[in-house]
Symmetry: C2
């Protein structure tokens, strides 16, 4: 009975904390009120909008939604860091102009190589090893790398208000998912620890992999290339493939999330879609229509009339980063 009592006591304590304020880092604006109102309406068994726990699926973009994405996607920083280190040890690996540009920190020159160029860069850091070895390397990188403007660890460049939202939804019986354009193996290296989201609830873009028995050890080996792009129309396709049901809650921040939000809102019954609008140049970054990363145009134009919540970071969030 001890264990059940302990579980009960923990549940009561958490319920008390939530009752106080489930989203303490959110300002008392309309955004917070709308989120709480939605969650209450779908979790109250007496509500006409009640949704069974099995259908409480919430999907979140990662870059620019759960963690920052400026001045450049963090996964690309990892790729460039690793390419540079390997080139220092063995310059012969720089077999193309694109790789030379990338190793020299010339991101523009690298991007001039288009998608093929980017694949070349990713292949050096993301392929030819086991998933376990890759993820151990990502964790080692997170230990040492620091963000150029804040000096924070990259996995501390996460949004405290979004962490609270994830926790709040889970406490209310939601299953929280990451649906990211970033690489699925990259994300899973830290998602459980950082967001409380287990690997089986993380989907992302993916390279092909291969099953090999190496010295008697069955291993999944990462190969070069891209097999699945989890962006734009790829997001609802991936959600159908991996989750098999339409979410009732979706959060993003760029036009790459448009279709995920559109797909989510089109189901029967109550639905919630939100876009994080980066409006806070002082505490984070300010960008939208003209950004080369996280471009947000169609979502700003059509989101409000579609009933989507546009979260104004500067106005709606009291805090950006978690306490150290």
């Amino acid at each position: 009975m001890n264990r059940i009592l302990a579980v009960g006591a923990a549940a009561l304590l958490f319920a008390a904390q939530l009752a106080a304020d489930p989203l303490p880092s959110w300002a008392d604006t309309e955004a917070k009120a709308r989120i709480i109102e939605f969650v209450q309406s779908v979790t109250d068994p007496d509500s006409a909008d009640y949704v069974f726990p099995a259908d409480r699926i919430a999907t979140f973009d990662n870059d620019g939604c759960l963690w920052a994405e400026q001045p450049v996607y963090f996964q690309l920083v990892y790729a460039l860091d690793r390419l540079r280190e390997r080139a220092e040890a063995d310059p012969a690996i720089l077999t193309s102009e694109v790789l030379e540009a990338a190793a020299g920190g010339d991101v523009k020159g690298m991007l001039a190589g288009g998608k093929e160029g980017l694949m070349e860069v990713l292949a050096v850091s993301h392929a030819g090893m086991s998933v376990e070895d890759f993820q151990a390397d990502v964790l080692a990188w997170l230990e040492s790398a620091r963000h150029p403007t804040t000096g924070r660890r990259y996995d501390a460049m996460i949004y405290q208000p979004m962490l609270e939202l994830l926790q709040y939804l889970r406490a209310e019986g939601f299953q929280t998912w990451i649906v990211s354009g970033g690489g699925v193996h990259f994300l899973r290296a830290f998602a459980a620890e950082t967001y409380g989201i287990p690997p089986q609830q993380v989907m992302g873009s993916a390279a092909p992999t291969e099953y090999r028995v190496i010295d008697g050890v069955p291993t999944i080996v990462k190969l070069p290339g891209i097999e699945f792009m989890d962006d734009k129309v790829g997001k609802p396709v991936g959600i159908d493939s991996r989750i098999g049901k339409r979410p009732i809650f979706a959060a993003g921040n760029s036009d790459g999330d448009f279709q995920m939000l559109e797909y989510t809102m089109a189901g029967a019954g109550p639905r919630f879609a939100m876009l994080v609008h980066h409006t806070d140049a002082e505490r984070e970054f300010a960008y939208d229509r003209d950004s080369h990363i996280g471009k947000l145009e169609r979502g700003l134009d059509e989101g409000p009339q579609r009933g989507w919540l546009i979260v104004d970071m500067a106005r709606d969030w009291n805090t950006i980063w978690p306490a150290d």
Copy 2:
């Protein structure tokens, strides 16, 4: 407090039932003892083999493991039923010899068309519609179709001992998954109701899909072809892609499951692999090395020395089918 007390009471009741016998349809043989011993060792916090609930991943093949697969895969029966009905309404759809053979019930003639022929047949019943429409059709088929030798509904051709095993594992904190060579959308149509496994824990072979906004409604449309074969080496590849961690328990019945079991057993710590051996011609079917479906040869030869449990259906199961 009422809700917590109710949860506690339900947990106690279930615990009492389990303590009595978690696997009542299993005979009191070594098979049952080994399963229970494994589950107890990984769930006892005082055991050296204790595994945290987050890592208690159990994967199950479907055809021949959770439900029957003779005289032919049930999904193929569905495809042929639908092809025949559509050809009766419009004979012009039979545009090839393979389709004509299939519509005439000539399975051999159809299989003579190889993989391309099978794709043609599947395209008629499995493509060109939304996922929702397809799954509604599968459910309608399950309502009316009956197995040729038992007269049972196809979704009642499931193994009672395996249902108990799924429930037992879940009660002990495992997350149960289906990893099937069958089609993922087909399986998900009935997996939650039949096995208690929600769609996001069902993986299977998959056709490509496309995101389309049809008359304003965002829809996932099934396309012809095969994008992912969830069989043999595809199983561990799919497990890495969808679950992102190595299971600690895997169950199958054919050589198509070999790599899944091999991959599962290769992780650190306690692991369990089992193969259902179809030995019961009287109550079910008896087949293994020479079967055109569910061929089991390498598993029988290598399984025992690898420590895999070979379940002898005739000896180890008191009951095959659930009560009506």
